[in-house]
């Protein structure tokens, strides 16, 4: 039997966020924020001073954590680390690209839809973006 992706059954899994300040503020008001004993949060606020390296590190950290089930990432932020997002293919945590205030949702850039587009087109998505 082929190796199957491991599914973690968590009694309470978290939702991580990589987004702009307003989106993070809203979801923290909805009760999603978590800070552990080492003062590590389950979110990263992206602003003009945030570097691509910081975003990459946060994405890698959140997708490697056992206690996170969904990672919300603003689509314009995901575009900065597109290669990393598109190459991620585990079922958990699920990566959801969401719109932001200044950047509406674009289905053409969604990694999930890009993956399934192959069924409708023989061209690779990567070549479309170049």
């Amino acid at each position: 039997m082929a190796n199957k992706p491991q599914i973690r059954t968590n009694s309470s899994a978290l939702i991580a966020m990589i987004a702009d300040e307003d989106t993070i503020t809203g979801f923290l008001l909805a009760g999603v924020g978590n800070v552990d004993l080492r003062r590590k949060t389950n979110y990263l606020i992206v602003d003009s001073k945030t570097t691509v390296k910081q975003i990459e590190d946060a994405f890698k950290d959140f997708t490697a954590r056992e206690d996170i089930a969904i990672v919300l990432i603003s689509q314009y932020v995901a575009n900065m680390i597109r290669f990393l997002v598109d190459s991620y293919n585990k079922p958990i945590p699920a990566i959801l690209e969401i719109p932001s205030k200044d950047h509406p949702y674009d289905p053409a850039h969604d990694s999930v839809l890009s993956r399934v587009k192959y069924l409708f087109s023989s061209e690779s998505v990567a070549s479309d973006r170049r």
Binding site: I7, N10, D22, L28, G33, R39, I98, P99, V112
Partner: protein
């Protein structure tokens, strides 16, 4: 006789393939519809947040006021343990769970289950469970579940001060709704990818 059996098998096979393709197309349609709804809900939330910031002042609604002390999330997720080769994982949202309790059945857990139905667009099946009242540690009268939810909401709003604008409360409601939609989208996403894998297998088998 054998030809008839073979043709029956072929028909069943084609029906199964059609079923997979329909599942896939339905999932994709539902995903796009939900993303559009999410965009509307988030826009509403951002607008309310901007109004709150306008009435309370930018300094009072800022990320510098976020609570960085150790605390658990009030809204969490449960994932069903499934074999991803057979069926997609199922996410369930647990809102306003008492963070001090180790057991999940204490506190108010509003759950939304979302199972993909290939025949029609997906609507969430909300399951409101009657929560148990929490036992107070000091022996005072138990806190009612609704009271606990209000307390949890007020606690989060108090990040931005004791008296907050009604617009900030509206923001909280909008983002709670967005959270429910996101869990639904996660389940549809999982179903979409699962259906996609099935269709890919069918295409390879046909070649």
């Amino acid at each position: 006789m054998q030809i008839s059996e073979n043709s029956t098998e072929l028909t069943d096979k084609f029906m199964e393939v059609d079923h997979h393709v329909l599942n896939f197309l339905d999932s994709m349609d539902t995903y796009l519809i939900l993303m559009d709804s999410l965009s509307s809900t988030l826009r509403q939330g951002w607008l309310e947040l901007a109004s709150a910031r306008h009435s309370m002042g930018a300094a009072r609604v800022s990320s510098t006021l976020f609570n960085l002390k150790s605390h658990h999330a009030s809204t969490t997720l449960e994932i069903d343990d499934v074999d991803t080769n057979v069926e997609p994982p199922l996410f369930t949202l647990c809102k306003w769970v008492a963070s001090d309790d180790s057991e999940m059945n204490n506190g108010d857990a509003n759950r939304k289950d979302d199972e993909l139905s290939p025949a029609k667009p997906e609507t969430p099946r909300a399951r409101d469970e009657e929560p148990q009242a929490r036992r107070a540690e000091s022996g005072a009268s138990p806190v009612s579940p609704d009271g606990h939810v209000q307390q949890a909401r007020s606690r989060l709003l108090s990040m931005f001060g004791t008296l907050v604008s009604p617009k900030l409360r509206a923001t909280q409601t909008s983002f709670e709704k967005a959270m429910e939609m996101l869990v639904e989208i996660s389940n549809v996403r999982a179903s979409l990818l699962h259906a996609h894998n099935q269709v890919q297998k069918d295409v390879k088998a046909a070649k």
